[in-house]
């Protein structure tokens, strides 16, 4: 018998759950001051997240998908990207979007039921969040192909969940991108749950990272609650992709501390005590402990940060709530580049019956 293939999946962690370095930190993290923006961004994302849930509970926005406990993935990945790269996110990736420059007011506008929230001022070429599972991996592969064809030093970065790795789209996209050696980084936020289905029932594969091996690309694992590890692997994968080395898959292992969305009640299918225990591993306290230990952070700075981030969230909420609703014409005017004649009459009907738009129902 001959062995024709063997593979290994590398696991990376720099900070343990107590925030102690388990090995020498990578170059970008050697100066603790370089970690402060990441700490700030995670804190901001979490405060935004909790405010968004509160807004949903009070009827101010629609269903919202919390990223509680997974902030290190979005911030760690997006902070490693260049402005000209393209993020192709899932619906749980507002942390990554905020890091990319999407404003909290824009995000709230989208979750509040207004597509204008997807018309980001920055970054203009990032995709809006993707709701159908894992379809975005195919889109990201196509983006990456475009960059490669034009010899642009840009990378497409796609994020999906652990459940998404069960979809054919995920396999097909990895397979194509690998053949194309396209500049693509795929990040799996393995938060252990796809709504009510746990990781163990999602796949019998010991790691999700090894699914990349089948496509002929590198798959690696990070402690997804260690932002140093996530950022490091993302940085490495981005550099490789930019240099023509092709795609990489990063499985970032985290835990969904919240419900699937505000429309979900996770206590129906998982023991709250198990979730409670997972708080010991969450990413923000981990980095804070590391910074506190190095005296790069202190209670006064923490207090000031919370104050600033809360004010920024509140300002975003005010801006969102002060945004007037769009015209009914808005439903029609962006479907095609030019409104087809066949739609013009329906547009007139919608405007006629729209309240406050000169319609008969006023």
């Amino acid at each position: 018998m001959a062995v024709v293939a063997r593979f290994e999946v590398e696991y990376t962690r720099f900070l343990d759950p107590q925030g102690e370095a388990t090995q020498a930190l990578p170059p970008f993290a050697l100066d603790p001051a370089a970690l402060l923006p990441l700490y700030r961004a995670m804190t901001q994302a979490r405060l935004f997240d909790s405010k968004a849930i509160a807004l949903q509970r009070t009827g101010k926005i629609g269903t919202f998908a919390s990223a509680l406990g997974q902030e290190a993935i979005g911030i760690g990945v997006a902070s490693a990207m260049r402005a000209e790269d393209v993020l192709v996110p899932s619906y749980r990736d507002h942390a990554a979007q905020l890091q990319r420059g999407v404003t909290m007011a824009e995000s709230l506008l989208y979750w509040g039921g207004d597509e204008r929230g997807n018309d980001f001022s920055v970054p203009r070429q990032d995709f809006p969040i993707c709701v159908p599972i894992a379809t975005q991996v195919c889109h990201a592969a196509g983006c990456a192909y475009a960059f490669k064809l034009r010899n642009e030093p840009r990378v497409a970065v796609c994020i999906l969940g652990d459940g998404g790795t069960s979809k054919g789209d995920f396999y097909e996209a990895l397979n194509l991108a690998a053949v194309w050696r396209a500049p693509l980084v795929v990040v799996v936020n393995n938060n252990q749950w796809a709504i009510s289905v746990p990781r163990s029932q999602q796949s019998a594969a010991p790691t999700l990272a090894q699914k990349a091996i089948a496509a002929g690309i590198e798959g690696c694992q990070a402690d997804g609650n260690d932002i140093v590890a996530v950022h490091h692997l993302a940085q490495r994968a981005l550099a490789k992709a930019r240099a023509g080395g092709g795609p990489t898959l990063i499985e970032a292992i985290s835990y969904r501390l919240g419900d699937h969305t505000t429309a979900d009640d996770a206590s129906r299918y998982r023991d709250p005590a198990v979730v409670e225990a997972q708080w010991a591993f969450e990413p923000i306290r981990r980095l804070r402990n590391y910074l506190l230990r190095l005296k790069a952070w202190g209670p006064e700075q923490e207090e000031q940060l919370i104050k600033e981030c809360s004010e920024a969230v509140n300002a975003a909420v005010e801006a969102y709530l002060a945004t007037p609703p769009p015209s009914a014409a808005d439903m029609f005017d962006h479907l095609y580049a030019t409104l087809p004649t066949a739609l013009a009459e329906q547009r007139e009907t919608a405007l006629h019956f729209a309240p406050h738009e000169g319609g008969g129902h006023g």
Binding site: E115, P132, A146, A173, P340
Partner: protein, 326 residues
């Protein structure tokens, strides 16, 4: 000028646009070295290179999905689905993403892609190779759906599709690929994407059809003409958005309408046209309108497919019924 059949016209239109627009890329199964199983892309990889004429892995979902990413990043991808029966894995991407990317980003990202596929029965093909899925796509807001019925319209409409800023589903009737030739200037001239083509003027009845069925429809018009019945023939080559004005105008003059399509009857585009006539042209009609369509059954395999497809006789019979009605 060149004498071209429909599949050659498709090839020339693709070549013209690739020559003039470096953003155009083709992707699909067997389209490169092999030139496509119907030879629609023959010679294009040799001419424009493997980076722009991409032989993809065998994955229709990712072909459609990757085309969306390419389009959003400024390319003009033309994805070929090898047979219409294999187009269904693309629906998630076409419906959930391609058709609505412009809308959901308020125009920040767009999806100028073309999804080409052969369609229709009549070439003794295996199972899953004879479907007419136009109504599925025409139901989706944000798409354009086009089906040419001749080499010259294939050339002009495909160029228009390639230049359109929105996603276009371009369905090519396989039965017409090599059925007849036409003189084509190959001058890069596009046809409009939002009007019906009146192929024959007439005064007694309006025959509305598209794709390969125009063969039978025009033959029926010939047969009727021999009896002194004057049929107007309209080609609804651009099925979505639908140009009802041309059809309504014709029916206003003839007072009678027979709609002919190959796809199954229920929920087919004939029903949409009929509903529009009922809403806006009912007082023009001197007789109930007639539909001559594929039956609401699975498209049969080769031995029965011509009993499924609307025939000249069925169309003529429907016209007679219309004329006898009042």
């Amino acid at each position: 000028m060149a004498e071209l059949n429909l599949v050659e016209a498709v090839n020339r239109a693709l070549a013209w646009e690739m020559q003039h627009d470096p953003a155009v890329v083709l992707l699909g199964e067997d389209i490169g070295v092999n030139g496509g199983v119907f030879r629609a892309t023959v010679g294009l990889q040799q001419r424009f290179g493997a980076a722009r004429v991409i032989d993809t892995a065998l994955a229709e979902t990712a072909i459609a999905g990757a085309a969306i990413g390419m389009a959003a990043m400024g390319l003009k991808p033309v994805a070929e689905i090898q047979f219409s029966g294999f187009i269904y894995p693309t629906l998630d991407h076409v419906i959930n993403h391609a058709s609505r990317l412009r809308h959901r980003t308020r125009g920040r990202l767009t999806c100028p892609m073309v999804l080409r596929s052969p369609c229709g029965a009549g070439i003794h093909a295996p199972e899953h190779h004879s479907e007419s899925p136009e109504a599925l796509f025409a139901h989706v807001p944000g798409l354009r759906v086009v089906m040419p019925s001749s080499p010259s319209r294939a050339y002009g409409l495909l160029l228009a599709a390639l230049r359109d800023p929105d996603p276009v589903i371009f369905l090519e009737p396989t039965r017409l690929y090599r059925l007849f030739k036409q003189e084509i200037a190959d001058d890069g001239a596009a046809l409009p994407l939002d009007v019906c083509f009146t192929l024959r003027a007439g005064s007694d009845v309006t025959l509305v059809s598209w794709g390969a069925m125009l063969q039978e429809t025009q033959a029926a018009a010939d047969a009727l003409a021999a009896e002194g019945i004057s049929a107007e023939v309209i080609d609804v080559a651009t099925l979505k958005p639908l140009d009802m004005a041309t059809i309504l105008d014709s029916v206003a003059r003839t007072g009678r309408c027979v709609i002919v399509h190959e796809a199954a009857r229920s929920g087919g585009l004939g029903a949409e046209i009929a509903a529009n006539l009922a809403e806006r042209g009912i007082y023009s009609l001197q007789a109930p309108l007639q539909r001559v369509t594929g039956y609401d059954i699975v498209v049969p395999l080769a031995r029965l497919e011509y009993q499924y497809l609307p025939s000249v006789e069925r169309i003529v019979a429907a016209v007679r019924k219309s004329l006898e009605a009042g």
